[in-house]
Structure formats: structure tokens, C-alpha cells
Amino acid sequence: MKHLLASTALILSLALPAAAQDYAPDPNAKAGGSIVLTYKDDVATLDPAIGYDWQNWSMIKSLFDGLMDYVPGTTTLRPGLAESYEISPDGLVYTFKLRPGVKFHNGREMTAEDVKYSLDRVTNPATQSPGAGFFASIAGFDAAGEGGLSGVEVVDPQTVKITLTRPDATFLHVMALNFSFVVPKEVVEAEGADFGKKPVGTGAFKLTEWTLGQRLVFEKNPDYWIAGVPYLDSFTVEVGQEPVVALLRLQNGEVDIPGDGIPPAKFQEVMADPVQAERVVKGGQLHTGYVTMNVTQPPFDKVEVRKAVNMAINKDRVVQIINGRAVPANQPLPPSMPGYTRDYGGYPYDVEGAKKLLADAGYPDGFETELFVMNTDPNPRIAQAIQQDLAAIGIKATIQSLAQANVIEAGGAGTAPMIWSGGMAWIADFPDPSNFFGPILSCAGAGEGGWNWSKYCNEALDAKAVEADSMFDPAKSEERLKLWSDVYMGVMDDAPWAPVFNEERYTMKSERLGGADELFVDPVSIPVNYDYVWVKE
């Protein structure tokens, strides 16, 4: 069968009538009701081309839609605004058939022109989108500007054809990324830079109130294209609320979800009370916290030194310091990411072994270096724990605790020998192993100003990564993941990072909230999938 398909024109096609097949809604779910959430930090913008924060990520997902989507609570792709799609045999042309009758919040029907406009807009440098780089495989990306992308064509009002310059196995994920979400041209042009404050999309909710620095109110879109969704009539987001305050208000019944999770200092108290502990939801995150070592400069140009650092860090103690809300990591990928290598043990915690490696590298008495860290709690504390571990093998690391922007600058410029990634660590944009490689471990990211703070560049692994990402055929998915696993094992052999832990999320919901636990720790709609939670009442 597979052979037959390959010899004829390989056409991968997917046509699902509705979301019903992939997601079984809770049979008890009821429509109606409102909930209140809180966040500490203000929401910067709700423009899908710009927003890239913890708080606004899932709000944008509820206001807008992309061609692709994820099954709620999972990392599985499903069609979104596209009803179906076809991939050409060479993997270079994607043809999306749009779902008919989808309307923007202003009542106008969404068409292929809007899809093209949205992709042209996000890649136009004038938009200043932080996500433009995700679309680099689309033909015409390098010349993107006012003229738009030559690789995105409107075939007819219901059909969009996207041509790539190279096969890209992650392309469907990119089409599910916030940055690709479809916006109405006339509204964007009318609002200009204020579109992010007055967003109009096709999503399950629309924004009805935004008091800067205080509150946002989202109301149900009654014409949403998935029948019966969303369940809630509205949800209100209150910003500027300390996590501790949010939790106390939740205990008083004033708040339904503390958006920033349970604050560490309150964790034990909550878990000690069975009634409250029952409402705690725990979930993995596509996150890894790591220490980067600049491989282009002595002493970290020696692999033995980097391995010694890997063996010196007592990860269990670091996890203890953040009150057990993480699991020790031994490789770049987090355990819930496809492609994670389960049978890999990682570098053991072995002080004597580490000392021996340092001696082998010519540093029997250790050396002095600097460890950069972002200056918000708990990162300086974690850095001090690592500093003490390094001191035990003779490495005297001075801590440079700076504002986020200064650390990023030092990392990009290559002036930071070591960086603890906390607060700026990699959280996957989309659930695919390639997302942990390109910007932070590949040669492309190692240039001046890039996010590959180790300045690590292994051409052989880069080639392997390219090979993996050209395997666009879903049938070869297993093979591709194996290849990615090999890439990360190769990275661990070179040890440009010391992976330290993978954060776990602990959040809480009020008694009246319904919906599966997965929705509250959704790996994609971080931190909550607003569209599918519901109120018991």
C-alpha cells in the first residue's frame, strides 16, 4: 500500500468534517457562566503577530484561529480554519481548503485573501513580528515586504496554496502557531498599531473590555464555527495581581484560576489540605532549564570541562530549592516532547568524576568564570546553588545577576561564559523536537546576537537536523523522531549545555469549574484552554 502510494503521486490528504471526531467533549459540560482569572503581569498586546508572552498566548488562541489547530489538552494536530489540506509529493506545496462560512467577529466572512494577508503581514519587517522567523521556509520569505510573500497564493476564495523552498516537517505546526493566525485586513488597516488593543478574529471569544493595567473581559462568540464551543458566556482576566493574592482570593471564592499557578511559599499549605489538594492540577511543560557554556572560549572550549560541569550540578538539590516543582533533566528535550530519549541516563552527579575530568582537561585546580542570571526570583537563588556545586569541583563562578535584556545581550554577544537560563529558558513554541534545536543549539543560532548562547555549532548534527525536518511524510514520523533523538544525544556528547530541570506546572481551579484536568495544563494553550472549560453551578 505504501509502495503503491509512493509510486503514484503521493497525496496526503486529510478531510475531517468537524472537530467531533478528534475530541470527545465532556458529556457533563454545560454552557453558560463566567469565570475570573488573574495574572501578575499586564497583557502587552493581543495582536497575534506580536504577542509572545505567557499571559497573552492562550488569550490570542481564543480570539483567533489558524489553518491548523490542536486537539484540546494534547499535542496532536487537527485542522482548524482549513477543512482539509494536501501536500505535494515533493513536500513543497501545501494546498489548504478553507472551512466555508467562518465569520470574523465583525460579521464578515473569512476568505483565502485574509489568509494570504495575514501571512504577508507577519513576515513583513514593518510589522516587527517576533515570529517572522518561523515562516522562513515559505518561498519569497527573503524578499518579504510590502509586496507580500510570493509563495502564498490565493487559488480561489476557499483555497490557499503555499509553496516552500525546502520540505519542512514542522510546517503544519507553524500553521497552528499564533503568529500565523488569520486577521481581517480592513480592521488591521483601520486600527493600525492599535489592533493589538482592539483585536478582531474568528475565535471562540471576542474582547469586549480592556482597562489597561487592570482588567480584560472576553465574551462568547455565538457564531463560532465549532458548534457548542465555547461553553463559557464570558471570562474576565484581572492583571497586576500577585500570585499570593490570587491564591487567597481563590480560597475566598473570588477567583477561579490563578493564571501564574500556586506560589511556592503556599504550596505546602495547599497540599496539606485534602479539599484544596484535590483541586490542584499538575502538568508537564515543554520547558527545560539549562546552563549554557560558551564553547568558543577557554576553558569551556574543552569538552571535558563541560562534562565536568554537567556532573558537578546537584540537580536534586536545585529541584528541592524550588520546592520540588520540577523534575531533574538529563537532555535538552523535556520528557513530554515527542523525540525524548527515554533510555538515556545522562551525566551522573559525581563530584570526584567531575574533578578528574577537570584535571584531565588541564585544570586540576579549577578556574574562575562568570555565571550570568536574570535578576528575578528564584533565578539568583538557583544560580547560587549551582555556584556552590561548581565551587565543590574548584570552579569559582562569579554571579552576574542582571535584567533580562542585559543577560540576553551578553548571551547573544558571546561575552557570557555561563548563563543560567531561568526566566528566559526555552519553552517550546510548538510541540515538535525541532523547536528545541534551530534557534538555541544550531549553527544558525550561534551567530552574533543569536539565542544559541553556547555558540555551539556542530555541522554534522545540523545536517542531521535538516534531514529530519525534510521528512514531511507523516508515515515516516517514527523514523524522524528517532533521528531527532540522535541529534540530541549528539548534543549531549558535546555537552554545550548542562540541562538542570524540567519545570512542572501546578495550578488550581475553583470548585465550580468543570473540564478535564488536561485543559488547565494544556501543553499548547498555555496556561488554560479557555474554549473548553466550563462551570458546574
Binding site: 509572545y52 519587517p125 516587527q128 517576533p130 515570529g131 522567523g133 489597561l212 535584556a405 542585559n406 540576553i408
Partner: protein
């Protein structure tokens, strides 16, 4: 008077210009690249350069500053790099909270400071006087974040009288306003005490007492107004102290004012916001000083405008 006012306004404008220049220089030499913050972690070097060009950040320093000034004189503070919103709008949306906090702080420092100062003056030399004056030393020696956390712990966490931070009602205002005002109350109680002692000694008060007026009446009706006036004139100067305090107090109490806005902007080098908040604060300080200097001679004829 008019000439004096014009001269003062001109000097004030020059001061603001100087503040804008120095801040712009500091932000220019900051070892952090705002374009990197905008471009995000997945950006190619090309995207970064494109954004730099879009924002005009590839231009020489003086041209960048000139452009900023050109906008400024038209009342345009620019747009936030990361939020893309008008800085003026961002500040305007948060200014009411900060002003409310300052009004609360002024009320708190006057209520506390004047009352304690009067009591101390009337009980001059007693244990009570000494205790109160010692307290005034403590309040001017306590950093605002310690006072804030202490008030939160005692009155919000332990006693539950006030909410633990947040914004919205009078109850939310009490603790942050007290925190900000308690420093000033120390100064005011000491000034009030001295001022009151002097007034109580003055001839007209003695006359009033000699005429057989009751003690309370003399204090409230005659001595108090005369003693308070020179102190009221100082309120304008407090604005400078408050502007320093709001970053800390707003962060401890989660108060949605311009201090929080500035602090978040500093973390991510959102230069237009930092510039905007600095200028607005400097403007408030200059205005406060000007008002204090203008009011002083009206209240106390011994002071002349220079």
C-alpha cells in the same frame, strides 16, 4: 511676579530638556539591545536589522534624539516597542492610580505628622513628647519596602483588616498610602512640633489666653492655622520623594501605577516607556517645586521670591 514666573517656567523647561537628554544617553549606552527584545528568540539576523531600520535605531545618536524631541514638542511620546501602544496612552491609563496613591500618601502624612507634632508640642518635654520624636526618627529611617511588607503582614495577613494588595476600593488604598506617607509623617511631625512651639509662644496666643479663652479653643482656633501654613507649603517638594517611592511601593502592593509600568519596561528595555515615565516624573517634581516656591511667600511674608 510675571517676570519671575516666566523665568521659572523657562528654567523648568530647560531642566526637563536636560533630563530627557541624560536619560536618552543612558538608555543609548545601556548594554542591552531593544531590537533583540522586539525580534524575539527565533529571529534571523536579517529580521533584527530590518526592525532596527524600521525604528530608526540604526541612525546616529543625535538624529535619534532629535527625532524624539521633535515628537516630544508635539506632545508625542512615541509608541512602546513591545506593546506597540502609544506611551501617552499607557501612562494616562496608569496615572490615575499613581495620583490616587500620592493623594492618599499626602493625606496620611499630614494626618499622622500634624497630629503627632501638635501633641508633642503641647506635651513638650514629657515622656510622650520624647517617644513621639523618637518615633519620627524611626519612620524616616525605615525603607519603604520594609514598612510596606510589615504593614501587609500585620494588617492584611495576620489581622485581615485590609486586602493583601491590589487596586479598586478605599480599603486597597490604605496600606500603600500609609507606606508612602509614613516617611513624610516623620518630617512633618518634627516641623509641626517646632512651628507649634513657636506660635504658642507668640504674643497673640498669649493675649488670647490672657483673655480667658479655653486651651482647646486657643490651640485649634489661633495657634494651629498659623503653625500649619509654613508646613503646607512644603507638600510640593514631597512629590520628588514620592516619585522615588512609587516603584517600590507599587511593586510591593501590586498597585497598577506608573512605577510598575516603568519597572517592567526597564526589565525589557522598552525605551519609549522608560523615557516617558522619567519625563512625566521629572515634570511632576519640577511642578511640585515650583508650586512650593510660589505658595511659600503667600503664606509667609518673610519669604520673598528671588
Amino acid at each position: 511676579m510675571a517676570a519671575y514666573l516666566i523665568r521659572r517656567l523657562l528654567v523648568s523647561a530647560l531642566i526637563l530638556l536636560g533630563v530627557s537628554f541624560i536619560t536618552f544617553v543612558l538608555l543609548y549606552v545601556l548594554p542591552a539591545d531593544p531590537v533583540r527584545q522586539i525580534a524575539g528568540r527565533s529571529a534571523t539576523a536579517e529580521t533584527v536589522e530590518n526592525i532596527r531600520r524600521e525604528l530608526g535605531l540604526d541612525r546616529p545618536f543625535l538624529i535619534q534624539y532629535g527625532r524624539y524631541l521633535a515628537g516630544l514638542v508635539q506632545g508625542d511620546l512615541g509608541r512602546s516597542y513591545l506593546q506597540k501602544t502609544e506611551v501617552a496612552e499607557l501612562i494616562a491609563s496608569r496615572l490615575p492610580a499613581t495620583l490616587l496613591l500620592m493623594l492618599g500618601a499626602i493625606a496620611a502624612e499630614l494626618a499622622l505628622g500634624l497630629t503627632l507634632g501638635i501633641v508633642a508640642a503641647l506635651k513638650r518635654g514629657t515622656m510622650l513628647d520624647q517617644t513621639l520624636m523618637m518615633t519620627s526618627f524611626v519612620t524616616v529611617s525605615a525603607p519603604q519596602f520594609v514598612v510596606g511588607l510589615l504593614l501587609l503582614y500585620v494588617f492584611a495577613v495576620k489581622l485581615g483588616w485590609f486586602p493583601i494588595g491590589g487596586y479598586g476600593s478605599f480599603a486597597h488604598l490604605v496600606l500603600p498610602a500609609l507606606t508612602l506617607g509614613i516617611l513624610g509623617s516623620g518630617w512633618y511631625s518634627r516641623m509641626m512640633r517646632s512651628s507649634m512651639i513657636e506660635v504658642l509662644r507668640a504674643d497673640y496666643v498669649r493675649t488670647a489666653r490672657a483673655k480667658g479663652l479655653g486651651r482647646a479653643r486657643v490651640v485649634l482656633g489661633h495657634a494651629l492655622p498659623n503653625a500649619i501654613l509654613p508646613i503646607i507649603a512644603m507638600i510640593g517638594i514631597d512629590i520628588g520623594i514620592f516619585m522615588g517611592g512609587i516603584v517600590v511601593v507599587e511593586s510591593v502592593f501590586g498597585w497598577p501605577g506608573i512605577g510598575q509600568l516603568a519597572w517592567q519596561a526597564i526589565q525589557r528595555v522598552d525605551i519609549p516607556i522608560i523615557m516617558g515615565v522619567t519625563l512625566v516624573s521629572a515634570f511632576a517634581i519640577v511642578l511640585g517645586n515650583l508650586l512650593a516656591d510660589l505658595v511659600a511667600p503667600l503664606i509667609d511674608p518673610r519669604i520673598k521670591l528671588k
